[in-house]
């Protein structure tokens, strides 16, 4: 029994050490290398020129989304606020969920301040349990809201711009050289291996701020 506990602890320690080294590697440069299907790839920090290219493409995409209409001439894509109205008519008040989110965040902050002022072990653990519970609730509401705004124009644009940027900054190692994986965004859109794109997007989120999410945008 003790042996298996020791083994589990050792396994956990090794896992933590690997994560530690991974973190060390990720922060070491503004280009992040990763392995995928036995090949070496990297995402590099976008230049100002590349960021401007994404902004131009985003504007074109916005025009495209705004101009799309159904057979009755009604716009197909809707902004976040329009989705809010639609859900409200169906009895789902998204503003109320957002207010609840703010209230929960304040509750967490108050508990954290209480936590800071105690060194009593049982009290620490009790407060930490309460904070963890509230944070779970916050995560649930956040994911509910993200889901409700999934098809908003804001979200469509964010999804588009991240993928567009990835098409510019994803590179593959060939010999000693690094070459771009996609010549353009169209090549990325038609690419069959979504696993590589998902991995690339994850590493890209370490390079640029992923916090610009559809709830706060």
């Amino acid at each position: 029994m003790q042996k298996s506990k020791d083994l589990e602890r050792a396994r956990q320690q090794i896992g933590e050490a690997i994560e530690y080294l991974k973190a060390k590697k990720i922060i070491s440069d503004n280009a992040i290398e990763f392995e995928y299907n036995n090949e070496t790839y990297r995402v590099v920090m976008p230049t100002l020129e590349q960021e401007m290219e994404v902004e131009r493409a985003k504007t074109e995409k916005l025009n495209e989304l705004l101009s799309k209409t159904d057979e009755n001439g009604n716009p197909i894509y809707k902004f976040k606020n329009q989705w809010k109205e639609i859900y409200k008519k169906r009895g789902i008040d998204l503003d109320a969920y957002e207010s609840k989110l703010q209230a929960l965040t304040i509750d967490v902050e108050n508990l954290l301040v209480k936590l800071a002022q105690t060194q009593d072990r049982p009290r620490i653990l009790e407060l930490e349990k309460q904070i963890a519970k509230l944070r779970d609730e916050i995560a649930d509401i956040t994911s509910f809201l993200v889901d409700k705004y999934r098809y908003s124009i804001e979200n469509q644009l964010m999804f588009f711009s991240r993928n567009y940027l990835l098409s510019l900054v994803l590179e593959k190692k060939k010999g000693k050289k690094w070459v771009r994986v996609f010549k353009n965004f169209k090549e990325l859109s038609n690419y069959k291996d979504t696993g590589l794109i998902k991995a690339g997007l994850t590493y890209l989120s370490y390079l640029i701020n992923p916090e610009v999410n559809i709830i706060n945008e």
Partner: protein, 122 residues
Amino acid sequence: MSKKLDYAPIIKETPLEKLARSYEMQTLYNHKILPFRNKERFSYIQLLFLNLLERYHQLLTDIALGEENTEEGMEEDPLRVEGYFLWRNKKIKEQGKKLREEETNLKDKNNKDIDLYKITFE
């Protein structure tokens, strides 16, 4: 060598937090050496890391000085670290407000004193 925590925190620290408070990274930071290959155009995660380095540097200094609400080992508990800085910032803000109020009161008092010596010529 810092004292270890005698309980298991409910929420574990992230590898980035653990790295930022490590002896190696804190020593580099104290010598103003950045652990990055690039010297400019920092990535989002590098900026986050710089923020964490400063945060743990401040916390470890406060612990060493025995500041209020600190104790050795608390740096291993991310919720307590978060709470400590919330509380600390709140305290600094309150102290600032109190100082400003005291200054205003002092100014008012001085103005009143000056008024005593005012002579009106008609």
